[in-house]
């Protein structure tokens, strides 16, 4: 027994000394050169949001990929966010790899270098900008209210005042309902007053509750117009109520507390996105996935204040 303790103590001590002295070569000081040296751009996404990000019908790992085994490859995911991220990686001359952490973990910042960038349809908001940097937005999303198909009592979004409305918790839709939403460069008209916001982990759970029937659990859901439209296209019994409530700008996000300086990467990505706007790639991808060109309006947005 004593011998065992001695051996264990020696091993522990050796491990400690080795780990402490293990001469690490001077690490790259900026994120862009790290990404280029690695040959992969690690992107966070959540494949729960068709048509932005979802699993492929027949997922197959990209052959010869440089992504690690816990990362997903272009062969496994698809959607507008996925294609945009792949185009950004192509512009950088590296392979795109995806990780799928919870949304809260992405918006919290402090990524600890686990991923380099979020290309996940994230709305640029002043609150998020406290933890994250944003690059040039790559498209916009109109937020809209959806109600049960057979409902006839609601004519405009304003009729939903005082009703029970489902939204994803921590999303801009929740801030819209309690009147605290600020979208840079947009004047918001808070048409729905005193509604009860019922929060969900994601929009799809809220929509599923609305689809149970008019007023069964919810009177309406506020979500991205394309998300609701996709449900309708899937034959779900809901309809859009009136015009979109407001427009959001969605851009790539970077960790403010990154150990490696992200500014060179932000600049490079913003430049690539500007190029993708200019040559029409983003408009084309948007038509393909979302069914309408939501990208064009994002080209003129000045995001420079969010990258500093």
């Amino acid at each position: 027994m004593k011998k065992l303790y001695t051996i264990m103590a020696v091993i522990l001590a050796a491990a400690f000394i080795l780990s402490a002295c293990g001469g690490s070569p001077a690490p790259a000081k900026d994120l862009l050169s790290e990404v280029k040296a690695r040959g992969t751009l690690v992107i966070s996404t959540d494949p729960a949001y068709p048509p932005q990000s979802e699993l492929k019908a027949n997922p197959a790992r990209t052959p010869g990929t440089k992504c690690t085994s816990d990362q997903k490859t272009l062969g496994e995911l698809e959607g507008f966010d996925i294609d945009t991220a792949a185009a950004i990686a192509k512009g950088l001359g590296v392979e795109p790899c995806w990780v799928t952490p919870d949304w809260t973990l992405i918006t919290a910042g402090n990524w600890a270098g686990r991923w380099d960038i979020s290309v996940g349809s994230m709305t640029i908001t002043p609150e998020r900008a406290k933890a994250l940097y944003f690059g040039q937005p790559y498209y916009t999303t109109p937020a809209a209210a959806f109600v049960y198909k057979t409902n006839t009592t609601y004519k405009t979004p304003a009729d939903l005042s005082g009703k029970k409305i489902g939204v994803c918790g921590g999303c801009t839709y929740e801030s819209f309902l309690n009147g605290s939403l600020v979208v840079p460069g947009v004047t918001i008209n808070f048409t729905i007053k005193n509604a009860t916001a019922k929060t969900y982990d994601t929009d799809s759970t809220a929509l599923a509750d609305l689809e149970l029937g008019d007023g069964v659990r919810l009177d309406a859901v506020i979500t991205a117009q394309p998300t609701g439209q996709a449900e309708i296209n899937n034959g779900k019994p809901i309809k859009q109520l009136g015009d979109p409530l407001y427009i959001e700008y969605l851009g790539p996000a970077f960790d403010r507390n990154s150990m490696l300086d992200p500014h060179s990467l932000i600049a490079a990505v913003s430049q690539i996105i500007a190029g993708l706007h200019k040559d029409g790639t983003l408009s084309k991808l948007c038509m393909q996935w979302e069914g309408s060109d939501l990208a064009a309006a994002a080209a003129t947005f000045d995001a420079s204040q969010f990258g500093k």
Binding site: P47, E54, T100, T104, M259
Partner: protein, 289 residues
């Protein structure tokens, strides 16, 4: 039941042997009938559940086509749970011995650990470990120890295993403590009187007996852990729940995927219960009459 006597007289026959045999046979038959009755109740309940499922708007074809993706997730679930239960057991053993020791430092550390970890929700622990540890690592890196700092930046799976191990280790510390305390004090005194060191007393006298009492509860914890491991999906680990959820959203097949996932968890826990039963039987061998 014959016994040889030493005088060479004809073997003694137990006059009540036939009665005893009859009693054993009766018990056996009763057990058999009871088994059939219980099976019938199970069959009835399964029919009821199936009937309920038939009333759901589900597509069995979709479930059949997608059970294999859930199986992939089952591998991850099983791996995470197995590694976690193993390290939680080690933690619990250390924790319970510390709790029962007379050393104030060991007792203090173990008591604090159990109180802190049992008093906070697992999901929050997962968030804290995944988000918080790297920040500590960063500070250590800035102090000039990058190699140590790097250890704190855990990937999703190791972070999940750490959180589950710590969490279950705390609950199991109490299970182990109860098991160790259930062994009569007289045995410890006798062993000390024979000149055994405290370590020998623990290893040779207390633990082998306590394990028998602890095993059923550890099995219980393992079953609970397989389902709690779903929480690591928040870090993007592709285990059963995560995969079920993502496929459900892609194809708007919520009930289908959740039913398949539920079945996968159920089968996993049935297998674990068998394993637990087998272990219990083995451990009880010495006590059987």
């Amino acid at each position: 039941m014959t016994t040889e006597n030493f005088t060479g007289a004809p073997p003694l026959v137990d006059p009540h042997q036939s009665m005893g045999e009859g009693l054993v046979a009766l018990q056996k038959r009763n057990r058999f009938i009871q088994g059939i009755k219980v099976t019938a109740v199970w069959a009835g309940l399964i029919a009821l559940v199936t009937g309920g499922m038939l009333m759901l708007r589900i597509s069995p074809a979709y479930m059949l086509a997608h059970y294999n993706v859930i199986l992939q997730g089952a591998g991850t679930t099983l791996y995470v749970s197995l590694v976690s239960i193993a390290s939680a057991t080690m933690l619990a053993l250390l924790g319970s011995i510390s709790r029962l020791s007379s050393n104030p430092i060991a007792q203090g550390i173990a008591g604090f650990y159990v109180s802190l970890v049992r008093g906070t929700p697992l999901l929050i622990q997962i968030y804290l470990i995944y988000l918080g540890l790297p920040q500590i690592g960063e500070q250590i890196t800035q102090l000039g120890f990058p190699a140590i700092g790097k250890i704190f930046i855990l990937d999703a799976v190791p972070a999940g295993i750490l959180a589950l191990s710590l969490n279950y280790g705390a609950y199991m510390t109490e299970i182990f403590r109860a098991g160790l305390q259930s062994i009569g004090y007289g045995q410890r005194e006798a062993a000390i009187a024979l000149g055994m060191t405290p370590l020998q007393v623990m290893r040779r006298i207390i633990l082998p007996q306590a394990i028998r009492i602890i095993i059923p509860d550890v099995g219980n914890q393992f079953i609970a852990m397989q389902k709690d491991s779903a929480l690591v999906s928040v870090m993007g680990v592709w285990e059963i729940t995560y995969i079920a959820n993502r496929y459900a959203r892609r194809d708007s097949k919520y009930m289908e995927m959740f039913l398949v996932a539920a079945a996968a968890y159920w089968i996993l826990t049935i297998l674990s219960s068998w394993l637990q039963g087998w272990l219990e039987k083995r451990m009880a061998q010495a006590y059987e009459r």
